[in-house]
Symmetry: C2
Subunit: 586 residues, 2 copies
């Protein structure tokens, strides 16, 4: 649930500060800011009152649309899975088709409207839609398109005895994916100023549609896995679940069906990731509607590896070793021999234990350095950063869930054998690692960049904070009233320099800390890539080790893993991007 | 997930405005504000930087604690319900006992600490912990205590063959309920300033504990209902679910067991509501930690009914008629005769249809009056109001869920007969009514109170907004620079007066609108009380009409109703309180 307080936080941005101090950054953006203001005058002739009222209304309306669409969707999904009377899933598919067509129509309308209107998009949020998110979207979009083509080819074979809606849905979905990828690639950074009410509702519709597609895909994949349990083929679990397509007596008319079905089954996880990525981007765009961004916090930080050595080297060693064990794991599990599978699982767990332990230790070191470090925290509001933090913690819940479910299952059954012990150890250590990494990344994102000349500029960014700080200083030091307007930044600055004497040695000591932080970031980044690759490309130790499926009911366990794992993958990608940012600012 | 942006919204409160305009309200609070500032100087000698850093850290830490406790709890609950191996629920109970003891200890520590320290609580949030919430907490707390006593008496009978943990848990829980009710009654309005880190973590622990108790109670009630299906006793559903206490071969040693079990089964819903109430209050307290409130928006509004007549009268008629049908319904359903049950259900549905339709129509009228009405929207940030709105929308999701699940079930089975048609109509109309009522209440809460003399005072409350508005005005009207500081409120005010000529006729027209709004509020308030009483005191048409249980699997349907209904009850109570506030400000 997104609360109004978050909206209120944006308000601080809408009332833009009266005067920019003439730092190099603000001079650079001066012309742009001028043209922006002219544009916004055209829009806001009737004052801020109408604007605020409009925001409240459209915020409320779009929230209500989302709630209704999502809950109706959940009811339909539950109805198609958990019902005693065998109703087919056509109703759900018709609902999805309607949603997808509406969303596609809105996205086309928006794209055409903004391309014709001159002042439609005056502001861009440079933090929104970073390159990893857009790149991932395109990659997963291509995989989803291939999946849809396979699906259509497959369903054509069943056309003589099954509903035509089953072909319409993937066809419509492929158009939707094309339009949406184009739309988000172009417009992910937009801070929309015109037609805010319609845009807010449209974006919430996009978000709902993507979440519904995600839910439908997760359900379909879970049912698929429940019907064809990996290897064992024990039919006790599948008796009460319907066949995936609902056609038990219907035979495919062409020979490629079996291969196609197997192929698109492997592409499901990519489609699930695609929906998650698109949801995240639509949500960020929704938050940015009506926002007037001040860009002067955007430093040009350069990436160079010359200072760091240990972190990247150890990280690369881990990455190579991890990929090696991953290949061994995949090959051994594919053979289907229980003995080989246990060995493969053991190697996988050992590798993960080592990786996660090293990551935890280095993260603790990083947090300790932050404690020693006297760098300023970024003051002022930054909705994008808050969103980043929210997405990071939100996405980590998926991984947390799988870990805690595994822990309960292992402890609940009594934890015999070294395989279970390793499984338990990996889960416990991963929980610790997730907590520590979240703390480390969030601390890092909240620090000011390590640039001496940038330091003052960034302190001046939010004049309200400055002003308020000045007023507080009046109360603390009643005599210094005259110098309040500019002094706080300076006094804060000199407080840092004071304990160590002259500024120069302080700078050298900082360099030592900076280097350590950069090493840690590089190491963590590479390890997160490793932990991303393994689940993204098909490692499923949760199913290969049967303890989870045995302890919980099989359907329950499949649901937990299928919901949790995509979020885990998203979390690792997000962590890589955030660690890269922390690396640059350290 | 609570985002940092909400936190950032509070920041605006921490930097309190430099000067209060001397309206009667602010004069009244002048002394208090002075003593507050002195207190906060004692605390914040090291400046806002440390404070902000501390807030970030403790916010993060308390969030991580909550995530971990809740996910571990979900895993334990799932493990005790969905496992194939028959493990008893002792592990879950031990976990709950540990949580409850820790929370009780912290609450005692907090109470003792604040009573000894002079400056511990300098600020009170007058909107937090309103009387309906605290009253409800005490009422439901007493019912929960009785339930615990019954449970202990019941489990004593099984002591010779079952674990002693089963007695320990209700004993510990009853102490917890006593301490927590006392704690929340006294401290619900506190804006804690000392030991903020510990307090934040403690409050999040309280929240997690209450949510875990809620989850455990919902699960236990659902299992109970699944084992003893109402009336029919069809054993197909109950075969795979364990007996409620896990003692199939264990007999009670005293004769009162059967009665006690039946008695405490009726008290479960109150315990579930208690946990929800306590969670909401703990969350509000958590949001208020470190907040410095400016109280000058707190007008003393008086309640008098002399202007309104139609609304209360029609509302009372509805209430009496509704209570009459409710009694008939309860009596007829209790008899267990299918024919009588269908008649009772029909009367119940007709009553609900009439009530919900009238409510929807009057809400539409209310929204139309808001559109005509030129009253100002409240500007400036108000975390409590945002929380109220968030809780309102969040709680309505429970009712939405039940309605949509019913709609899908009725449409999915083909909707034969007038009973199903009525069921569908009630569900559809309730969805519409919920949407409209949410819009009406939120619009109402965002309006300035209807007091002519208060009008200017409230516009002056947020000097930053004023200032920003002034700067915007500079751009719009470049010539009026000299009068910016005070003019916006006046120009806005005169804009309202202008269209209708002199102020006096305008005032009369406003009175007409005010009266209509008050009538609508009074009517909606009484209808919401009716819709609260029926589910709170045991009407369960969702189970008496078997369509939901037939369409979905029975366990699924029980889970949906048991999770959704308590939120629905909470929503109605919250609506009553909010409508009362809207009534006062109209």
């Amino acid at each position: 649930m997104t609360s109004e307080a978050e909206m209120a936080a944006e308000e601080g941005y809408i009332y833009s500060p009266p005067t920019f101090p003439s730092t190099p950054c603000s001079i650079h953006l001066g012309v742009q800011a001028g043209s922006m203001r002219r544009g916004s005058d055209v829009l806001s002739t009737s004052g801020g009152r109408m604007r605020e009222r409009g925001r409240n209304r459209s915020w409320l309306l779009s929230s209500i649309i989302t709630v209704n669409v999502l809950i109706l969707g959940i009811a339909l999904v539950s109805g198609s899975v958990f019902n005693n009377i065998k109703i087919n899933a056509i109703d759900l598919q018709i609902f999805l088709i309607v949603l997808v067509i509406l969303t596609t129509a809105w996205m086309l309308y928006y794209t055409i409207y903004t391309s014709r209107e001159d002042h439609a998009v005056l502001y861009k949020d440079s933090h929104a839609g970073p390159v990893w998110l857009r790149g991932g979207l395109v990659l997963f979009g291509i995989c989803s398109l291939i999946m849809d083509v396979f699906k259509i080819a497959n369903y054509v074979g069943y056309l003589h005895c099954d509903s035509a809606v089953k072909i319409v849905f993937p066809a419509v979905q492929s158009v939707f994916i094309l339009v949406q990828t184009y739309f988000l690639w172009l417009h992910a950074k937009d801070c929309v100023q015109l037609q805010r009410n319609i845009t807010r509702c449209g974006l919430m519709l996009t978000l709902s549609t993507n979440l519904m597609l995600w839910m439908a895909a997760v359900t379909e994949e879970s049912i698929h896995q429940t019907v064809v349990p990996p290897e064992e083929g024990n039919s006790t679990h599948s008796c009460d679940i319907r066949a995936p397509g609902g056609y038990s007596s219907c035979n495919c008319s062409h020979s490629a069906c079996a291969i196609l079905e197997k192929a698109y089954y492997y592409l499901y996880p990519f489609n699930i990731e695609y929906s998650l990525f698109a949801s995240a981007m639509a949500y960020v765009m929704w938050k940015n509607v009506g926002r007037l961004v001040d860009e002067h916090n955007h430093h040009s930080l350069h990436f160079h590896l010359k200072d760091v050595l240990v972190g990247p080297v150890v990280g690369l060693v881990m990455l190579v070793a991890g990929l090696g064990t991953f290949v061994i794991y995949e090959v051994d599990v594919e053979k289907g021999d229980p003995g080989k599978r246990d060995t493969a699982l053991m190697i996988h767990y050992v590798m993960n234990t080592v990786a996660v332990t090293l990551m935890s230790v280095s993260t603790v070191a990083g947090c300790a350095i932050y404690r020693l470090d006297q760098r300023d925290h970024v003051s002022g509001k930054n909705p994008t950063r808050s969103l980043d933090v929210g997405l990071l913690i939100g996405a980590s819940i998926g991984q947390f869930t799988i870990c805690y479910f595994t822990i309960v299952a292992v402890v609940g059954t009594g934890a015999m054998g070294h395989l279970n012990a390793l499984n338990l150890a990996v889960s416990l250590l991963t929980v610790i690692q997730l907590c520590l990494q979240n703390i480390f990344i969030i601390e890092g994102l909240h620090r000011e960049p390590f640039h001496e000349d940038m330091h003052r500029a960034s302190v001046f960014t939010n004049p309200y904070v400055l002003q308020a700080q000045a007023h507080r200083d009046i109360h603390n030091l009643p005599g210094t009233f005259m110098e309040t307007k500019l002094s706080p930044a300076l006094t804060v600055h000199s407080m840092h320099v004071a304990p160590s004497g002259s500024p120069l040695p302080q700078r050298h000591r900082l360099t030592w800390k900076r280097r350590a932080l950069k090493e840690i970031c590089a190491f963590l980044l590479l390890c997160n890539i490793l932990l991303w690759i393994m689940p993204a490309f098909g490692a499923r130790p949760q199913f290969d080790n049967t303890i989870g499926a045995e302890f919980y009911e099989f359907t329950m366990w499949v649901a937990v893993v299928n919901i949790g794992l995509p979020f885990g993958i998203f979390y690792r990608m997000h962590s890589v991007a955030s660690l890269f940012e922390v690396f640059l600012t350290s």
